[in-house]
């Protein structure tokens, strides 16, 4: 149902399916840990989405590509005027 929902084309008999299935299982374990902090009513919830069959490395390499840039500390609001 994940493949159907997110339009994945890899075949169940393919090597890619096996790899993605492992990543998916890792993801499920991660959700359990992440949600263990989410008891409060408005807390973030973690679960299956379009990134659930990616390894964490793949996710970082594809989507987390902003370079860190140090900015000077905000020096406070001007009081004049």
């Amino acid at each position: 149902s994940f493949r159907e929902l997110f339009h994945r084309r890899y075949d169940v008999n393919s090597e890619e399916f096996n790899r993605r299935h492992l990543y998916f299982q890792d993801t499920m374990k991660r959700h359990k840990y992440l949600n263990s902090f989410s008891a409060a009513p408005h807390s973030a919830k973690y679960g299956i989405n379009q990134f659930s069959d990616l390894s964490q490395k793949e996710f970082r390499e594809l989507y987390l590509r902003a370079s860190t840039a140090r900015a000077p500390s905000f020096s406070g609001l001007k009081t004049e005027g």
Partner: protein, 214 residues
């Protein structure tokens, strides 16, 4: 400051985009801020070209990644006018820079500020209200699994790796939070948005924040 403020209520925030399999978050956040400030100043809200920034901001690496501050610096130094999305559409691939004549219409950046608002998120709220949506860098590692709600844990500050657009905040409930537009499509998070607790620079949301001036 108002207890709740959201630039979307003033119809000056473009719909959520999807960067697809391209590391272009840095370009989406910068262009998103420029679009909004252009609309705040009285123009029609129009989508500007992310692909132009991706292809032409030469110190950055297109789909392989980039820096929001480098992109803003490039826009300021060159006074390049960003053309409409319809004139230079998004391909999710780095391409050759297309040049437009000086007489061609577009939106140019006059200036920008960049600050670390760590420990001063109230001042950041002030800047959001005063200047328009803000470009921010965050640690988004745990966002791979995010479905919705207010992020309060599993996010470090000082380890940013993703660029987003802060469009509002809400302090009326038990947990005050930032309203942040992401560029991973509307099926991710809260219809493309993520909420981050205000205070302690959760996910590094206040560590590197830029405001644009047109």
């Amino acid at each position: 400051l108002p207890a709740r403020f959201d630039w979307r209520d003033k119809a000056v925030v473009s719909p959520v985009q999807n960067q697809q399999a391209c590391g272009s978050c840095w370009a989406f956040s910068v262009v998103g801020a420029m679009q909004s400030v252009h609309a705040i100043e009285g123009s029609t809200l129009e989508r500007l070209s992310v692909q132009q920034v991706l292809d032409c901001s030469y110190k950055n690496e297109g789909c392989n990644g980039g820096s929001t501050l480098q992109a803003l610096d490039w826009l300021k130094q060159t006074r390049v006018k960003l053309v409409l999305e319809s004139e230079y559409s998004y391909k999710a691939k780095t391409g050759i820079c297309h040049y437009f004549s000086q007489s061609h219409g577009g939106v140019a950046l006059k200036n920008f500020t960049a600050h670390d608002f760590g420990g001063q998120e109230k001042a950041m709220m002030g800047q959001l209200v005063e200047c328009g949506p803000l470009v921010a860098l965050v640690d988004a590692v745990s966002w791979q699994d995010y479905l919705g709600g207010i992020i309060q844990h599993h996010c470090s500050s000082h380890w940013s790796n993703h660029a987003v657009l802060v469009v509002g905040y809400d302090t009326t409930g038990d947990i005050p939070y930032w309203i942040v537009q992401n560029s991973w499509g509307t099926s991710w998070g809260n219809e493309g948005y993520v909420y981050i607790k205000i205070g302690d620079s959760v996910c590094g949301i206040a560590d590197s924040v830029a405001a644009v001036f047109l």
